[in-house]
Every structure is written in structure tokens, then in C-alpha cells.
């Protein structure tokens, strides 16, 4: 029994996300307030990914610098809209072949728009040499200025990115608006023309729309990419550091590991590229329930097996689940393969305490996208 629990909007968003994904691509989105802990964790994730990247060291250093500077820029300027937590900052780190894009969207007072626009358009008109001179000048003359150094940060970002900064503003209400800021760093200059064209025309618009969607659905985290063990552990580590330990967050992290390792083990890939398991993982909250949703490609022939497995456990009582868990745990016949324990869904189902939801959308004759959603009640507080 397929329960169609996902809105078409969500499915479209995931399908869109999958459309252009290439091996090695990665996108991590954080939505929420930004403090030094959040920054440290995101920088850790970036560091880990950069270590795995083939880019040369100076490029890696530039990426790391721009990310750090961009994030600090948020903490210096972020505003909170009193009594309305629908609107939250966003940080997007995206790695596509040959390019990293770092984008932030934060709430500012509408009256600051003009000043920022002026600054950024001035910066964007400057050559690298002029930017270098300006940075030197600011350092010499405005050592200590009230808002963290005459936006030396912006100048440094423009200088090191080597590309024009993209920015835009999206009104929230009369008093506040979102300020979007995006810098791109190319890891291979030969690919410049193609990628930049794409980036200039669409990217910031896409982020605006996407951010709006995240606000509406109250999505905190989106992780899209290759679900190999390193990335799974990095994400696990981020959540471990970010979320204080409670019974709820421990459950959430345990489920996260199971779900992501399940993708790693059983997902398929359209192009049959080996050792690559593209997937998407999101966490959102609605009416006091948390939803962990994972999506990945699978071969259609696997659909009946998945349905059977989940349907079998969904409506068992707590007692029956415990029995099934024990029997499966002690069943040594599956022991030959390290991949299959038969315990994954049972474990998730028990920890969640809610039936598991699943859905499929057709891609072509052979493949589908498989959605799995886990519901969690938070009895304590997450933050």
C-alpha cells in the first residue's frame, strides 16, 4: 500500500534537485540562526570535503576563506524578526563539477539595502588589482570601524573569488528583507565559460525560490550528494555538535545513520556509475512532528520488495516489533553478507514509534525515485 504522503511540490523539488547531479557533486543547506558553533561545524564539513577534492591547495584555501568570511558576515548583520520564526537565515554550500558556490541569505533591515547595493556594485566594477589596493587601503585606514571593518570582508571575498559577486534582495515585510550573497570559485579555469553562464543567469533566482520553499515547509537541513561513508559521517558529526543531546536528538541521529547507510548500500544510479549513490536528505518540522525524508534512485524491480518489507512492519505492535527484531538479530543465515542485516527498517520503525511512509515516482522504464519518510515526536526540546 503506497501512501501518497508527499506533496507534488516536494516531489518536484526533489526531481529538480536530481536532474543535473553529477558524480562528486554536493549540496549542503542549513537554515536557522547562525552562531559560532554552527559556523565551526560548517567549516569542518567543508574542510573534510576539500580534503577529498582534487583541486589544488590555493583554490582550497580560497574556498575555505570565502566560506568563513561569508558566514561571519551573517553573524555580524543578521536580524531576528520579533515574534515570527518562519523567516530564517540560509547557508548553501554547493559543489558542482569545477565550481564551488557559497551563498548566504540573511534577514536585514530594509533600510540597509541601498548601502549594501552601493557597496557591492562598486566592488563588482573593480578589477582584481583595484580590489587589492582597496583592501590594503581599508586595512591601513579603517582598522577599527563599528561594523567589522568597512566591509573589508566583502572586498576580500570579491578579490579571492575572482568572479563577480552575485547579490539580491527579497522583501519580507516593510521593515525587513532577505539579503542574498553568492560567490563562486572555479577549481578549473578551462571550464569557466560554461559554468559561469549558468551561474549568472539562474542561480540566485533559484536560491530565492528555494529559500521561500524551505521557509514554508520549515525545512532545517537539506543534504544532497553522494552518500558515501565520509559524507554520512560528516553530516552525522555536524548534527552531533549542533544538537544538544536529548532522547529525541539521539533517536534522530541513530535514524539518520540507518537511513543514509541504507541509501549507501541499496541505492542505484541512473548511469550505472559505480560507487556513487546520489541521494537527498531533509529534516523539517510541522505541527510539532519532525520529518526525516530521504530520496534516492532505485531500479524498479526493487519496489515490491521494499513495499513488502515496510508494510510488514508498519502495523505491528511494540511487542511484535520487539520479537521480530530479536528473531532477525539472531538469524545467522544472512550473516555471509556484510551488507544485509534485515534489521534496518525494523530498527528505524522501532525508534520512530510511527509507521514509515514511502512513495515512488517513475523516472523511466527501469528507474524510480524512492522516498522514505520517518516521523518523530519530540517530547523534549530540540533547541
Amino acid at each position: 500500500m503506497v501512501t501518497h504522503f508527499l506533496s507534488n511540490q516536494y516531489k518536484e523539488f526533489v526531481a529538480e534537485f536530481f536532474k543535473n547531479i553529477q558524480k562528486g557533486d554536493l549540496e549542503y543547506i542549513y537554515r536557522g540562526s547562525v552562531n559560532s558553533v554552527v559556523i565551526a561545524n560548517i567549516l569542518d564539513l567543508a574542510k573534510l570535503n576539500l580534503e577529498l577534492d582534487n583541486a589544488v591547495q590555493p583554490v582550497k584555501s580560497r574556498i575555505y576563506f570565502i566560506l568563513g568570511e561569508g558566514l561571519q558576515n551573517i553573524t555580524r548583520h543578521q536580524e531576528i524578526i520579533p515574534g515570527d520564526d518562519k523567516y530564517q537565515n540560509i547557508i548553501v554550500i554547493s559543489k558542482q563539477q569545477y565550481q564551488y558556490t557559497i551563498t548566504t541569505g540573511n534577514i536585514i533591515r530594509a533600510e540597509r539595502r541601498k548601502e549594501l547595493e552601493d557597496k557591492l556594485s562598486t566592488i563588482n566594477q573593480m578589477s582584481i588589482t583595484e580590489l587589492k589596493e582597496l583592501a590594503r587601503y581599508i586595512r591601513k585606514n579603517f582598522d577599527i570601524s563599528p561594523k567589522g571593518g568597512a566591509n573589508l570582508g566583502l572586498v576580500e571575498i570579491a578579490k579571492r573569488s575572482g568572479n563577480k559577486i552575485k547579490y539580491s534582495f527579497r522583501p519580507i515585510n516593510e521593515e525587513f528583507c532577505y539579503f542574498y550573497f553568492s560567490a563562486v570559485i572555479l577549481t578549473d579555469k578551462l571550464e569557466k565559460d560554461f559554468h559561469l553562464r549558468d551561474y549568472e543567469n539562474q542561480y540566485i533566482k533559484y536560491i530565492e525560490e528555494f529559500h521561500n520553499y524551505l521557509d514554508e515547509q520549515n525545512i532545517y537541513i537539506v543534504f544532497k550528494g553522494d552518500f558515501h561513508q565520509d559524507n554520512i559521517l560528516a553530516l552525522f558529526d555536524i548534527l552531533r555538535k549542533q544538537l544538544p543531546e536529548t532522547n529525541f536528538t539521539i533517536k534522530l541521529k541513530n535514524i539518520l545513520i540507518e537511513v543514509l547507510q541504507n541509501i549507501e548500500k541499496h541505492a542505484d544510479n541512473l548511469n550505472e556509475i559505480k560507487d556513487w549513490k546520489p541521494g537527498i536528505f531533509t529534516i523539517n518540522m510541522k505541527d510539532n512532528l519532525y520529518y526525516l525524508t530521504a530520496a534516492n534512485y532505485i531500479k524498479k524491480e526493487k519496489i515490491p520488495v521494499i513495499q513488502r518489507k515496510i508494510d510488514k512492519i508498519n502495523y505491528l505492535s511494540k511487542q511484535e516489533l520487539a520479537e521480530l527484531y530479536r528473531n532477525t538479530l539472531l538469524d545467522m543465515e544472512n550473516e555471509v553478507t556484510a551488507k544485509k542485516t534485515g534489521l534496518g527498517y525494523i530498527d528505524i520503525r522501532r525508534r520512530s514509534g510511527h509507521p514509515l511512509k514511502y512513495d515512488f515516482i517513475d523516472i523511466d522504464d527501469n528507474y524510480a525515485i524512492y522516498f522514505l519518510q520517518i516521523t518523530l515526536t519530540n517530547n523534549g526540546k530540540i533547541k
Partner: protein
């Protein structure tokens, strides 16, 4: 203390996804602690179980075994139950006591400990730690 066993201790340092293993018969110390999230748990635990099998040939009179895990995946649970079942057998030669540690806020870890204690017929203590 007189040397009870000629076996060399087994010491495996923790990694990002595997636990610390520290078995030292001379000191009466048997501990698995930290995170156990490997993709291939079978491979990780193979030498651990092999060491225990060798230890069982000439074990200490008493074996107090500490499970102090923060997170473990289902792949690991299949291996952990192997170790627990092995300890149950060992109990015929060496008085085995299992200590299952968990944080007070981690209800799932406590529940698993309780369930495992019903499966494994040896002295099994649940040790709660304040978070």
C-alpha cells in the same frame, strides 16, 4: 597480580566510525566503547571475535566486559550480538559479567540493553550515567 594469561592485549584505537577496543586479560579489562558505525561491521569485528576465541582457550577466572557505546548501526548490532552470545558460552569457563553502559537520556540504548540481557543468560548489569 600474578600473570593470569599469556595473551597479548588487543588494543584498537577508535576512528570516526569504529569503536575503541581494549582487551587486557592481565588487567582484567574488556571494553568496547564509542561509536560503531562502520559500513562493513563484519570485517571490523572479525579480529575482535578471533581474539576472544583465543582468549576463551585459557580465560581468567572472571571476565567483566564493558559495552560503553554511544551510537551503533544495525550492521554492528549483528556483530555485537555475536560477541554477547560468545560471552554466554565463555561463562562456562570464566565467570562472565556484562556491564551495559548508557546515558540516562538515551532510552533506546537502555531498551536495547534490557532486550539483550533477556537473550544472553549471564550476569548483565545496566549502568546508567548522568548526561
Amino acid at each position: 597480580m600474578a600473570k593470569l594469561n599469556n595473551m597479548r592485549p588487543l588494543k584498537i584505537e577508535p576512528t570516526a566510525d569504529t569503536p575503541k577496543i581494549y582487551f587486557d586479560p592481565d588487567k582484567g579489562h574488556f571494553e568496547i566503547s564509542g561509536l560503531s558505525l562502520p559500513e562493513d561491521a563484519l570485517e571490523f569485528y572479525r579480529p575482535v571475535i578471533a581474539w576472544l576465541e583465543e582468549y576463551a582457550e585459557n580465560p581468567n577466572p572472571e571476565t567483566v566486559f564493558d559495552f560503553n557505546l554511544e551510537y551503533f548501526n544495525t550492521a554492528s548490532s549483528k556483530q555485537l550480538i555475536q560477541i554477547l552470545l560468545f560471552l554466554e558460552k565463555l561463562n562456562k569457563k570464566s565467570k562472565v559479567k556484562i556491564r551495559w553502559h548508557y546515558k540516562d537520556i538515551d532510552e533506546d540504548m537502555k531498551d536495547l540493553g534490557e532486550e539483550y540481557s533477556e537473550i544472553i543468560k549471564v550476569e548483565f548489569e545496566l549502568v546508567e550515567h548522568p548526561s
